[in-house]
Subunit: 235 residues, 2 copies
DNA sequence: GACGATTTGTCCGTATGTATA
DNA sequence: GTATACATACGGACAAATCGT
């Protein structure tokens, strides 16, 4: 710990603050001690405390408001959904219908995306996403076995599997998506009630967990005007 | 501009710095005056100068290194495609064809998106994006007058206007995009050589500059299988 | 390579403004 | 209205990295 001594004071303070949050001393949403209190506690200047706090505000760990106490951010920032991405399916009455849910031995590309070994199995889940009784998307999800087991019971109940995974402490840290166009095959067209050859908007997604292991590889084919994809980048 | 007086000093300084960059007084890669010089020039304390600079470092506008002069970033951030966004138009031989380029008095929604006053004019640029002699997209760009003047000369030569704007020291800090589906109108279908009613992938984009003023609002309608949109988020 | 001047980074203390509770 | 909190702004000091001579 002697190396700590070489770190700037404000970084040391920052680490202490983060530790208090990690250890649950200060819960999300809770106020942390005021600047004056921290000055006394750590025996440093206001500048130092403020620099530490400002850094953490920047990282979305803390939240400051003039006049009000500084608080720990509600969102644990790891799993804040999609930083700046919104998928919106247009409709009011949403359902999902499971077409298929089984283990697969052979599916090279999915296994490649999920970084699985040649002899490992993979779960495949095919669903129809339905809005107001009309199918709007055909979705294929490929899941590693442990993830699949979690999803198994709820595949037909939940529209989005991530909250469920979150409940099982499976969190993602990285999402990669590819949006492109394709033409409906006969099979998909029949499922979606459209004409073969009609254009679809495809979303191909690979999700990686906080342990850097893939969680999910999926392909979803949307009827274009039943779907909206919104994105914001930058600062 | 008396409202400026109510802004914190460091924000005023920040704006002045950004203006110098925008006006090309300080070119990308170049050093800006030292803190001591800025203190003299603006007659404020070091704290104030530093806060302004730190804010811009945070926004990737400036770059500081202990011991070395502070410089304007070479690539004012987002220009190169940002935290993992790739738009790919599928084809080898790319062209653009300008259909229309003129000032508009009336276009409420575009003005709203561009944060313009009721009586201000707006440039509208309509182009056809062509790959291998086949039209793949119909694009409408709405630009504030000063931006439009810059684009004016090159509208038919460049596929992407941002590098051009970059050369004129107009840089963006924020992009918001909406991807959705639509059906081709008769007008657009004729332009793209498709059948009316066929599905298109729409990209609606609002781009904001480093001075927080909107640069561009655009709508592009792509033939789905001529276009790919790839995105990565997370750490 | 060494050295001094310059520049940014860290840290202290203090004072005042302004929003919140 | 009062007290408390963070936000802004000033000033000074020394450390550490860089750069030109």
């Amino acid at each position: 710990m002697s190396k700590q001594r070489k770190l700037p004071l404000y970084v040391q303070i920052k680490n202490k603050l983060v530790n208090n949050i990690k250890e649950g001393v200060w819960q999300p949403g809770e106020a942390i001690p005021s600047e004056s209190q921290l000055i006394e506690q750590y025996n440093v200047s206001r500048t130092t405390i403020r620099q530490a706090i400002q850094d953490l505000v920047q990282k979305d760990v803390l939240e400051t408001r003039r006049g009000a106490p500084t608080r720990v951010k509600e969102e644990p920032q790891v799993d804040k959904g999609n930083p700046g991405i919104i998928h919106k399916e247009i409709g009011t009455n949403m359902e999902v219908k499971v077409l298929r849910f089984e283990k697969l031995k052979e599916h090279y590309y999915a296994k490649y995306q999920l970084d699985l070994e040649e002899d490992e199995e993979v779960y495949v889940l095919e669903r129809l996403r339905i809005a107001d009784s009309k199918p709007i998307a055909y979705q294929q999800l490929y899941l590693p076995i442990p993830i699949g087991e979690v999803v198994k019971g709820v595949a037909s109940d939940v529209f989005d599997i991530f909250p469920v995974l979150g409940q099982h402490n499976i969190h993602h840290s990285n999402i990669q998506e590819m949006v492109s166009g394709s033409n409906a095959t006969q099979y998909v067209a029949d499922l979606l009630g459209i004409i073969p050859g009609e254009a679809l908007t495809d979303i191909e997604r690979t999700t990686v967990g906080i342990d850097d292991k893939p969680i999910e590889y999926s392909r979803t084919k949307y009827i274009p005007n039943a779907f909206m994809y919104r994105m914001e980048i930058g600062k």
